[in-house]
């Protein structure tokens, strides 16, 4: 093997090694930072790691939205009309939040039917329904096309 070929071979092997390690690191990092979405029914059926941030979405149940003046905690219930999840939240509720509308919350699960929200996500448009919520309602046979 000539010197030139050897030199090239080393460079190629080294770059392949770097590339593989980088890809591995990136994919592992990706896996650690995935946020899973659950409908209330799916949350019932899953073993939740209470340390991982998750998202739960569905409709805000009617007459469930409350605010406690002393503790400053908002609470409401997310439903997919089969199962329900209690949500508690400290912070600013988004403008578009309303009962009977779609909502997605991000936070830590306390158990299979309650979650402490870090973020409450409601979207720009009033008619807008988060795709995950539509999907969750469809799975429970509760979705009606308008």
């Amino acid at each position: 093997m000539s010197n030139k070929v050897k030199k090239r071979l080393i460079i190629i092997l080294l770059s392949a090694l770097v590339l593989i390690i980088a890809t591995l690191l990136i994919t592992m990092n990706l896996r650690d930072n995935i946020i899973y979405f659950y409908s209330p029914t799916e949350l019932q059926l899953t073993n939740i790691d209470k340390k991982n941030i998750i998202r739960v979405g569905g409709l805000v149940k009617e007459d469930s939205y409350k605010y406690d003046d002393k503790t400053k905690i908002y609470s409401f219930i997310i439903t997919d009309r089969s199962n329900e999840v209690d949500v508690s939240f400290v912070g600013i509720m988004p403008n578009l939040f309303a009962e009977n509308k779609g909502v997605v919350v991000e936070g830590l699960a306390i158990d299979k039917a309650s979650i402490t929200a870090i973020k409450v996500l409601a979207k720009h448009d009033e008619n807008y329904m988060p795709p995950e919520v539509i999907e969750a309602l469809k799975k429970e046979g509760q979705w009606q096309e308008e």
């Binding site: 990706l30 979207k123 720009h124």
Partner: protein, 627 residues
């Protein structure tokens, strides 16, 4: 004649003229007068676009698009902007920009006529594809099904002056890369991919890059003040969709520079050209198909996504088939030395593409799990931050070293010696800051020091010391853009490190304290805007008894369509923005207020302006030099 039919005729002329022009690409080279057939689509799509604006301004509710996106009481400027604030209109704008590029290029003084015709014909083929798409799946001139007297209105969040000009600018960027792809295809067909080719391509690549940079900056600026979340970049799929072609495009024009100077890397440049426009198309597909869940909602429709995907496949098949035959023949065989300007630009290429890979994976992975595992997930911002951190460190390092290396061969020790003083100065500044103000972590020190070094080194490279400091004109663009990038990283890291945020529940006369700022809640005002009702809360930033600043965060209640929005109130200072946003919960006697202190925000926007100016001056001085 009915205006809609007239519009359809305009589109059909545009469609057939561009089809006829693209026949030149066939092996038989059916040659007609390219000057006529490349310019007709421009005039006709321009007329169609003006016609669309006219029916919006006229509030002509005979047209479905106007019904869905406009309202007679809307201010004039938003009636006009409403024409392209929706899918159909924005696609017509996209076509118009495609034809503008072809129109301007048809006047270029390139002597190689076969090459010129090939470029124009492939561009015409792209115009043909998109016009077909517009005409059959997203026709803007469709009549309403029933008689309607009033429209549904434009989403209030989109009723914003900045958002009216943001899409056209972003589109000029995206679409500019279509001409770059046409250059690649034309170059391969005419066996003309060399120094001269790179010289012709250079201003076009830069033009697309300038507009894309500015477009992304404007979008980010809009999200910052309009969404009211205090952030300016959310790693949202729609944002990522615009970042991906930017990364590929940045790698591309650095390659074009090497090709023009050294006549190497032909096939790699071609590959990047194909990649960049493909990513523009993928970006459009992601945004328009609605398959990704985004904080920015757009009108979307799966069949449209499918068409873009098929069109992307056709373009990819054509360009890669051509590449498979011609690619290997293009390259000049020559060795690249490890320490040289070429090699540092190549390293920068790989780092930009690694960034692209990270963004691509994070954007498309949720799509994959949704399709194949029926599991909805989203990727948190931490993924991007952690993955991009080491890449950014390397990128900064190469950007400091690279521009100081000579072409072909250089000694690493000499380069390091030449930048060492500025590096030590930067390190001292950052360390001093860490000791006297706030203790910084190792990653922050690394990033801040390297970006500060980059700024200083780039300033030094842009100036030449003889008797006095003079600006070196040809490298001014490079220096400005590199200073801009250094400043961007510096201010993004500074912003993330020193940002503060607090939420208050406040009643009138309450005093709110964040850090060393004291806010007084003065009063609540109710007013009527043009097409909304407004509630404003008045806050004073106080210094003992004197009022320093007044904040008026606002809630707007629109009736068409019925929507509530929060308007932020931002006071920009040199070192930090103070950002106030509020809302009022139902049946409550207090308001919710969120106050952010956002350091170095003005520097973030300024850095984007610097990069854009860098691009502009690179074009300007290049044109001057040629004369």
């Amino acid at each position: 004649m009915n205006l809609g039919n007239f519009g359809n005729i305009l589109l059909l002329v545009c469609l057939s003229a561009s089809l006829i022009q693209s026949l030149y690409l066939l092996p038989k080279k059916i040659d007609i007068n390219y000057k006529i057939f490349s310019r007709i689509p421009f005039f006709f799509s321009l007329f169609a676009f003006i016609l669309l604006i006219y029916i919006f301004v006229d509030s002509n509710f005979n047209y479905q698009l106007v019904v869905n996106n406009s309202h007679s009481e809307k201010p004039l400027i938003y009636k006009i902007a409403g024409a392209w604030g929706n899918h159909e209109g924005s696609l017509l704008l996209w076509i118009l920009v495609l034809t503008i590029f072809n129109f301007i290029f048809s006047y270029s003084k390139i002597k190689n006529l076969d090459f010129k015709k090939n470029v124009i014909s492939f561009q015409s083929f792209i115009i043909f594809g998109f016009t077909l798409f517009l005409f059959f799946t997203s026709n803007p001139f469709i009549q309403s099904e029933s008689i309607v007297n009033e429209g549904l209105g434009l989403n209030p969040v989109l009723q914003d002056l900045l958002l009216a000009i943001h899409p056209p600018i972003l589109y000029i960027g995206y679409v500019g890369y279509s001409l770059v792809l046409s250059f690649a295809v034309g170059g391969m067909l005419s066996n003309k991919v060399d120094k001269e080719w790179a010289g012709w391509l250079h201003p076009w690549v830069l033009t697309a890059w300038i507009f894309l940079t500015l477009g992304i900056g404007l979008g980010s600026f809009w999200a910052y003040y309009e969404l009211g979340w205090g952030g300016y970049w959310f790693w949202d799929p729609v944002e990522n969709a615009s970042l991906m072609p930017w990364l590929a495009g940045t790698a591309l024009f650095h390659c074009v520079i090497i090709l023009e100077k050294k006549n190497i890397l032909q096939s790699w440049t071609i590959l990047l050209s194909i990649l960049t426009f493909s990513l523009s198309l993928i970006g459009t597909f992601l945004v328009r198909s609605g398959i990704l869940n985004s904080v920015h909602t757009f009108a979307s429709d799966p069949t449209r996504g499918l068409f873009i995907l098929i069109f992307l496949a056709i373009i990819l098949v054509i360009s890669f088939t051509l590449y498979a035959f011609k690619g290997p023949l293009l390259d000049n065989k020559s060795e690249i030395n490890l320490v040289s300007k070429e090699s540092s630009i190549l390293a920068n290429n790989w780092l930009l593409l690694s960034t692209l890979f990270v963004v691509f994976l994070g954007t498309l992975y949720p799509l994959g799990t949704d399709l194949f595992l029926q599991k909805s997930i989203s990727v948190g911002p931490n993924y991007y931050i952690l993955s991009l951190l080491p890449i950014t460190v390397l990128l900064l390092f190469i950007m400091i070293i690279g521009p100081n290396a000579k072409w072909q061969n250089d000694k690493i020790t000499e380069i390091i010696f030449s930048i060492s003083k500025l590096f030590i100065l930067s390190l001292a500044i950052i360390f001093g800051f860490s000791i006297y103000f706030i203790e910084l972590q190792l990653t922050q020190i690394t990033l801040l020091t390297l970006s500060l070094t980059l700024i200083l080194v780039s300033i030094k490279n842009g100036l030449r010391i003889k008797n006095s400091y003079t600006i070196i004109k040809p490298s001014l663009g490079k220096s400005l853009a590199h200073i801009g990038f250094g400043l961007l990283i510096l201010s993004v890291v500074g912003n993330a490190t020193f940002a503060q945020e607090k939420i208050f529940q406040a009643k009138v006369n309450d005093i709110l304290i964040l850090d060393n700022h004291k806010f007084k809640f003065k009063s609540v005002e109710q007013t009527k805007g043009k097409n909304y009702n407004s509630i404003k809360a008045i806050f004073y930033l106080m210094d003992n008894k004197t009022i320093l600043e007044t904040f008026k965060p606002e809630i707007r209640v629109y009736s068409n369509p019925p929507t509530v929005t929060s308007e932020t109130s931002i006071v920009r200072k040199f070192l930090a923005d103070i950002y106030v946003v509020m809302n009022i919960p139902e049946n409550s006697d207090f308001v919710n207020v969120r106050i952010h202190i956002k350091p170095l925000m003005s520097f973030i926007w300024f850095s984007i302006i610097l990069m854009t100016l860098g691009g502009v001056s690179a074009i300007v001085f290049r044109v001057r030099l040629k004369r």
